[in-house]
């Protein structure tokens, strides 16, 4: 009785996801897109960071312009622990995720007293501070030159020593995170998050602990970014501060916006678009690339504020219902 009556039509969702999975499975093979494996790994890593920001910005409505800082924290925890201190890379990854999560939790206390533009400024500041620390704490991090020779991840005697193997590792993590996020969004928690986005006072009057939810999602997003950072350094066996600076954070925001802020699966699309653009097309612009990111951000916000991916989906849907209408006539 209480179900929403919907137009009966074929459910494309499982088909689309199945197609995506098969595509992801086959892409790194040489006869398909093998030469792009490294790019595909990076798309996976950025998707992980972007999903965190989507939860934070798109669902909870809290801005963060410093996600790259958490990405970097995960990366440096893994790098320093596994190389300098010889900790098992998996253990280093877990320690990194826990430490980054704890750091985000502590930082969240003062930072979430701020709202809107002020929150954006504070997270921006956080990102810049972390970047400076990565550069300046040279005795641990190797400074601006970075550090190399970071050990590979391995399961028993199976070492993830080629991009082909690491591709599957990264996308396993990425898809797990997407699935987890999808479940969070569709649960009672997700509804509470959207309520907070709508009105904080009203959410609280319904018994939702607004401050706690914001902190939890902030921590979750930080942990996602940290895991991505760990996978990043074990993929390259090298780390320097460059990807974790302001430009890195801006790129993550652009990815989230292009994919659609309130769209979990859009994150893949956003990460892929921006990453392909930056790797294949923007190289010739050199330092001007940040101008291009700004331009993309502006154009997307003006013309498709809900995100390019979400807009394309709705065009498809309109086309579908249009066709259905014709059949009925």
């Amino acid at each position: 009785m209480m179900n929403v009556e919907r137009l009966q039509r074929f459910n494309w969702r499982p088909v689309a996801i199945g197609f995506l999975l098969v595509l992801l499975l086959l892409m790194p093979f040489n006869w398909f897109m093998g030469q792009y494996t490294t790019l595909l790994v990076f798309i996976g890593l950025h998707t992980m960071v972007t999903v965190g920001l989507c939860l934070l910005l798109g669902y909870t409505g809290q801005v963060s312009l410093g996600q790259a800082a958490f990405y970097g924290l995960g990366a440096y925890f893994s790098a320093v622990l596994s190389k300098t201190y010889g900790v098992n890379p998996w253990l280093a990854m877990i320690i990194g995720a826990i430490a980054t999560g704890t750091f985000a939790y502590v930082i969240a206390y003062p930072i979430f007293r701020l709202k809107g533009n002020y929150l954006a400024m504070a997270t921006l500041g956080l990102g810049i501070i972390m970047y400076v620390l990565f550069r300046q704490m040279a005795q641990y991090t190797g400074g601006p030159d970075g550090m190399g020779g970071i050990p590979q991840l391995a399961i028993g005697s199976f070492v993830f020593d080629t991009p082909f193997k690491r591709y599957y590792l990264v996308w396993f993590f990425c898809l797990s995170i997407l699935l987890l996020s999808q479940n969070i969004v569709n649960s009672r928690t997700g509804r509470a998050l959207r309520a907070i986005h709508g009105s904080e006072a009203a959410s609280a009057s319904l018994g939702i602990n607004v401050a706690q939810f914001k902190m939890k999602i902030f921590v979750l997003a930080a942990v996602y970014a940290s895991l991505a950072g760990s996978l990043f350094v074990h993929h390259l066996s090298f780390v320097n501060p460059q990807p974790f600076g302001f430009l890195g954070s801006v790129m993550i925001v652009v990815m989230a916006v292009v994919g659609g802020l309130a769209s979990i699966w859009g994150a893949i699309f956003g990460a892929a678009m921006v990453r392909i653009l930056s790797d294949e097309l923007l190289l010739r612009f050199g330092e001007l690339d940040i101008v291009i990111y700004g331009l993309i951000l502006m154009l997307v916000m003006i013309f498709t504020p809900e995100g390019l991916f979400v807009r394309l989906k709705s065009y498809y849907r309109r086309w579908q219902t249009g066709r259905l209408g014709e059949v009925e006539l």
Partner: protein, 252 residues
């Protein structure tokens, strides 16, 4: 049911409410009337936990509410319908209502039978949803529409329905008549009368004094942060000062 004892509220050095006491007994509709800036909303926000109480105490049955924040008082059965409705405009009506059932589940989880609570939660929500739809059949018709697309009166119904979803001990409404046409105001207030008959306790804050007093059992009149008059609804309606100040009739 609800006891407010000598509550003062201040924003920095500006005192908005001075030593106000009021009680709401089980099954009563009590109304708090007063002009703009009298401190009604400040008092209510303090009682609900949205702004801190400077001094005094608020009791809900035998639980001390003052010092708790809004989400905690909500979980204890304080059903607050804030000023201006505060709906989640982008969400469908039904999601707004289900969100209203949030605190009840929180209470279940605290109990020893938490796991049973987890299983019965959906059933609880369904029962409450059905009773809200019985009260407001319009909401049932529009359940998949976005809340923002409803008319003013329907939005107010949704706001009340949402607060009812957690089976509150007391329903506290801040100016439900705000921005509504007079006939809709009447409809909403009559509905509150019906809710009272079902045993609900209601504290109603209103500027429309006549309309509020007509359905209320007792009333308090607030002026410049203080309670200046109290009595049964009939007494207040007959009181010359009230007539003069709030009902817009000349003294006879």
């Amino acid at each position: 049911m609800l006891r407010v004892e000598n509550v003062s509220v201040a924003y920095g050095r500006a005192t908005a409410v001075r030593e106000v006491s009021l009680t709401v007994n089980d099954g009563e509709i009590v109304t708090l009337i007063g002009s703009n800036g009298a401190g009604k909303t400040s008092l209510l926000n303090a009682v609900a936990g949205l702004v801190p109480v400077k001094s005094g105490a608020v009791w809900l049955d035998d639980i001390l509410l003052s010092g708790l924040s809004l989400h905690q008082t909500a979980r204890l059965g304080f059903g607050y319908v804030p000023e201006g409705r505060q709906l989640f405009g982008d969400m469908p009506v039904i999601d707004n209502l289900i969100l209203g059932a949030y605190p009840k589940s929180a209470r279940n989880r605290l109990s020893l039978l938490g796991y049973v609570g987890w299983f019965t939660r959906r059933a609880d929500i369904r029962t409450n949803l059905e009773s809200v739809y019985r009260l407001f059949p319009k909401l049932h018709e529009r359940q998949s529409q976005k809340a923002g697309s409803l008319s003013g009166g329907e939005q107010q119904m949704l706001a009340i329905g949402r607060a009812m979803m957690c089976s509150p001990k007391i329903l506290v409404l801040d100016e439900p008549s705000l921005g509504l046409a007079p006939n809709l105001v009447k409809e909403i207030l009559q509905l509150l009368g019906r809710l009272r008959e079902e045993g609900l306790t209601i504290l109603l804050i209103e500027q429309d004094a006549v309309a509020a007093l007509k359905i209320a059992d007792r009333g308090y009149v607030m002026e410049r942060g203080r309670i200046v008059l109290e009595g049964t609804a009939g007494e207040l309606l007959g009181n010359d000062e009230v007539k003069h100040a709030y009902l817009g009739r000349a003294l006879t």
